[in-house]
């Protein structure tokens, strides 16, 4: 069981790295969807006891929302706002990829320094979570378009999700439902915001929002 969990975790890390290096928005969204499905599988992987009904419901919910609903919403946002299918980074793809790769050893080092973080399931779980969070922050900081910032936000939330799955086993259901709701609201808000911003200003470059300062 642990082998499969590790494989899934490593795949999550790879999808995160792919997010930093890909230039096409559509592919990024597809990778995000894949990551969502993987997260659902992790939820099964970390269970020690029999699979109960609520875990299955949770898995189904995670996969449905992160794997299908969000990507569809994002695609629609892109289509309706008529955005060019490019990521437009501040930091180049190669440098992003390099920073993303360096984030992995940093995450592992950080896990080592943290006291009493026994994930129990797999030693890779916590580093993966940190890595996803760092990648999320990187995407938010280094990308120009609002849509890519939504992607960064999703990656960050996925990291927190992995963290929650591994550590808060007693209150899993509550924690995860909370996170799902959180992200759902976030995507809706940002989706609506993107739509309205593009309608008002004819573009969704957050770059140009800086004209609004003061």
């Amino acid at each position: 069981m642990q082998v499969w969990t590790d494989v899934i975790l490593i795949t999550v890390v790879l999808t995160n790295l792919a997010l930093t290096g890909l230039s096409s928005l559509g592919t990024c969204i597809r990778v995000m969807a894949l990551q969502g499905v993987l997260l659902g599988l992790i939820t099964i992987g970390v269970q020690r006891e029999q699979l109960s009904l609520h875990v299955l419901v949770l898995v189904a919910g995670t996969v449905a929302i992160k794997g299908f609903v969000f990507p569809r919403l994002l695609k629609r946002a892109i289509r309706e706002a008529a955005i060019r299918q490019e990521v437009e980074p501040f930091v180049g793809f190669a440098s992003s990829l390099l920073i993303g790769s360096l984030a992995l050893p940093f995450a592992i080092w950080l896990t080592g320094r943290l006291p009493h973080l026994d994930a129990g399931v797999s030693p890779l779980l916590v580093p993966t979570a940190f890595h996803a969070i760092l990648i999320g922050l990187l995407l938010i900081v280094s990308r120009r378009k609002a849509v890519t910032q939504v992607l960064g936000y999703l990656a960050l939330e996925n990291g927190i999700f992995v963290f929650g799955v591994g550590l808060a086993r007693q209150a899993t259901f509550l924690v995860e439902m909370g996170i799902l709701l959180d992200v759902f609201v976030a995507v809706f808000v940002m989706g609506i915001a993107i739509f309205h911003i593009s309608r008002e200003f004819d573009h969704i470059d957050t770059d140009q929002l800086s004209q609004l300062k003061e």
Binding site: F90, L110, R113, L114, L137, I140, V141, S142, R143, R144, Q149, T206, D207, L209, S210, Q211, L212, K213, E214
Partner: protein
């Protein structure tokens, strides 16, 4: 349990009625009625348990089932809290009745839901502030109180002055809270809990306790209006609607005094310099407060400076009490604390009355300028006579209530002269001299204010065409005036009733307090008896005069008519000319700016005189300080790009730095 449950019910009722008032703000009459009735019923409900506990019923504790972060949600209703609660409930209930009529004049221009919502929230939060027994709960209520009053100060927000006053207040309130936060964190770290009960039960070194006292004096003193920290007060009080000014000045600033007293109960036996510190603050606030009041031309601003003065008197009382505790002199401690605590109640009564009176004048004439009024006693008799009662009370003249509390402080300081030694003596004598000076200057100031507003002839068309307020506003002022008289005439009983509250602060058995009060009781009884004889004589003479005049023609004419063919209102003393000898004498402190264009030649065409007294602390200390802070911060403008990405980067870097720092 019934007492404290009634208390919580009253808070719930007031907040709920405020919310309903906010929801129905589309219909101003309904909103106004809702807010007012809710507050009045809530205050009535709350007054019952407060009076019961103040008069000696045992203290009650309420521990709610849900827990606050860092501690429990605990309320305590003890004698100290109940003293402040009596003041809060009485004044706020009356202010609500007054406000129901006062705010009606804004009905056309303004929604009345929000002011009622914030008013009720303010009252509810004050009740929670004085009953909370957990630092977190206390700070939350404290903050709600500051914010609710901020929104009330900025009620007339299209007025530039009100807006600036609001900001000054908000900044001052938060700087004060910062000190309180530091104080509670220190206390919490020493005791291991945020509950007041644990603060009280620990023992701490004197240096630590002194640090906490200094933080408390600065933090609570900002709210109370101790002299160098008072700058928000003369700005915010005039800007707020008058019934809110009454509540803010009468009871909200007293929560600062409450906080200071509550903190003192945590700190164990005081060293002598704490008492001397408070006496020093009291002298500065009292004397300078009344001096600045003398120099004002705006009626509500003048009253605001008098709040600073009265807070100074309260600080004098508390300082005398603290010095008494450290010198182990029971009479000093009992009389000092007793006088200070009773003055809290008294000031709520007469300052509430005076602000309501000033509101009625503003309502009737549309102006706060002393030099535009005059002759209002004939036009606003109810307001005029009740204002006179308040003015006499605030000057500390018998037989009204101000006299009772100031007498206690005088007696405490006089007893102290016998106990104090060496370096303490000058300040103890200073209390007596300072109180006398304050009382004299206050009398001069209110002679000026009452004379300029109510006597003589109207100085402007507005004053000539002014109208008396309606029944609700009169009712509130009459009840407060009756309260001033009642506390004054029942003085001998009132001072004994203070015993449970003094016990909480000074930690003495109530028997010894009652024994100490026996002396002042005799003096007060004599004074009250003499006053009653005097009142009866005056009443008799009035009846006699009426009887003499019964069959004759009585005609009345304008004031200052003595033989002038063409009397004009401009021949009268103005408020500033009346105060000029005193303000000139104290010009070193006041720094009044004068712009004079004197009359020239034998037939002068025009001449003018403009005087303006800025707040010296504000101009000489705070303005330069905030200007340099502003300059320093403007150096950091490059941090603001307006780019979301960079802002997120700042947050991420901060989080990472904190994480790494915690891991080291």
């Amino acid at each position: 349990m019934t007492n404290i449950c009634l208390l919580m019910t009253s808070v719930g009722l007031m907040v709920a009625s405020g919310l309903i008032a906010l929801l129905v703000s589309r219909w101003p009459r309904v909103a106004s009625a809702m807010g007012c009735v809710g507050t009045v019923i809530g205050c009535g409900l709350g007054l019952v348990p407060s009076v019961r506990v103040l008069l000696g019923q045992p203290a009650e504790v309420l521990r709610l089932a849900w827990s606050m972060p860092l501690g429990d949600c605990v309320f305590v209703l003890d004698a100290l809290a109940s003293l402040f609660l009596v003041a809060i409930y009485s004044l706020c209930g009356l202010a609500a009745i007054y406000g129901a009529e006062y705010l009606q004049s804004y009905r056309q221009r303004r929604s009345l839901g929000p002011p009622w919502f914030f008013f009720n929230l303010l009252v509810g939060s004050m009740v929670v502030v004085v009953t909370a027994q957990n630092a977190v709960l206390f700070l939350i209520a404290w903050e709600i109180m500051s914010l609710a009053s901020f929104f009330l100060v900025t009620f007339e927000h299209e007025d530039e002055g009100a807006w600036r006053a609001g900001w000054t207040y908000l900044v001052a309130a938060h700087l004060g809270t910062a000190f309180l936060l530091a104080m509670f964190i220190l206390l919490g770290r020493a005791s291991g809990s945020m509950d007041f009960a644990s603060f009280g039960s620990m023992s701490q070194p004197v240096a630590h306790a002194s640090l906490i006292l200094v933080l408390a004096v600065v933090g609570f003193g900002t709210k109370a209006g101790f002299m160098p920290l008072h700058v928000w007060l003369p700005e915010a009080h005039p800007a707020a609607p008058s019934h809110v000014s009454a509540v803010m000045s009468g009871v909200m600033i007293k929560t600062g005094i409450y906080g200071l007293l509550r903190t003192l109960t945590f700190l164990g036996p005081p060293p002598a310099w704490w008492g001397l510190l408070l006496i020093g603050i009291g002298l500065v606030s009292g004397v300078l407060g009344v001096l600045f009041a003398l120099a004002q031309h705006d009626l509500k601003r003048l009253l605001a400076y008098h709040s600073v003065e009265n807070i100074g008197i309260i600080a004098l009382g508390l300082g005398t009490g603290l010095l008494g505790l450290s010198l182990q002199s029971t009479p000093m401690a009992v009389l000092g604390f007793g006088g200070g605590l009773l003055h809290v109640l008294n000031h709520a009564c007469f300052k509430g009355l005076l602000f309501l009176g000033a509101g009625a004048v503003l309502h009737g004439t549309g102006s706060r300028e002393l030099d535009r009024m005059g002759g209002l006693l004939k036009r606003l008799p109810w307001t005029g006579w009740t204002f006179l009662v308040g003015a006499v009370a605030i000057c500390g003249l018998p037989p009204l209530n101000g006299f009772v509390s100031e007498l206690l402080i005088y007696l405490g300081a006089l007893k102290g002269v016998r106990w104090a030694t060496g370096s303490h003596l000058p300040l103890v004598v200073g209390v007596v001299v300072g109180l006398a000076l304050i009382g004299g200057l206050a009398s001069a100031c209110f002679t000026k204010a009452f004379g300029a507003v109510f006597l003589g002839e109207p100085r402007s068309a507005q004053a000539a065409g002014s109208h008396e307020c309606g029944g609700l506003m009169r009712l509130a002022m009459l009840v407060l005036a009756a309260g001033c008289a009642a506390i004054g005439l029942l003085g001998p009983f009132v001072i004994v009733a203070m015993a449970p509250a003094i016990t909480v602060v000074a930690g003495m058995p109530s028997e010894s307090i009652r024994a100490t009060m026996a002396g002042p009781r005799e003096i007060l009884s004599a004074v009250v008896a003499a006053s009653i004889v005097l009142l009866v004589l005056t009443g008799g003479l009035m009846v006699f005069r009426r009887w003499l005049l019964a069959g004759r023609d009585v005609s009345s004419t304008v004031t200052w008519d003595c033989g002038y063919a063409r009397p004009t209102a401009r021949m009268q003393y103005t408020a500033s000319s009346f105060a000029q000898p005193l303000t000139w004498f104290f010009r070193v402190f006041l720094q009044t700016h004068t712009k004079l264009a004197p009359p020239v030649d034998f037939f002068p065409a025009s001449a003018s005189l403009v005087t303006h007294t800025d707040d010296v602390c504000r101009e000489k200390f705070y303005r330069p300080m905030f200007r340099s802070v502003g300059w320093l911060l403007s150096r950091l403008r490059w941090l603001q790009h307006g780019r979301v990405q960079i802002y997120v980067l700042y947050i991420a870097l901060t989080l990472l730095a904190l994480l790494l720092w915690k891991l080291e």
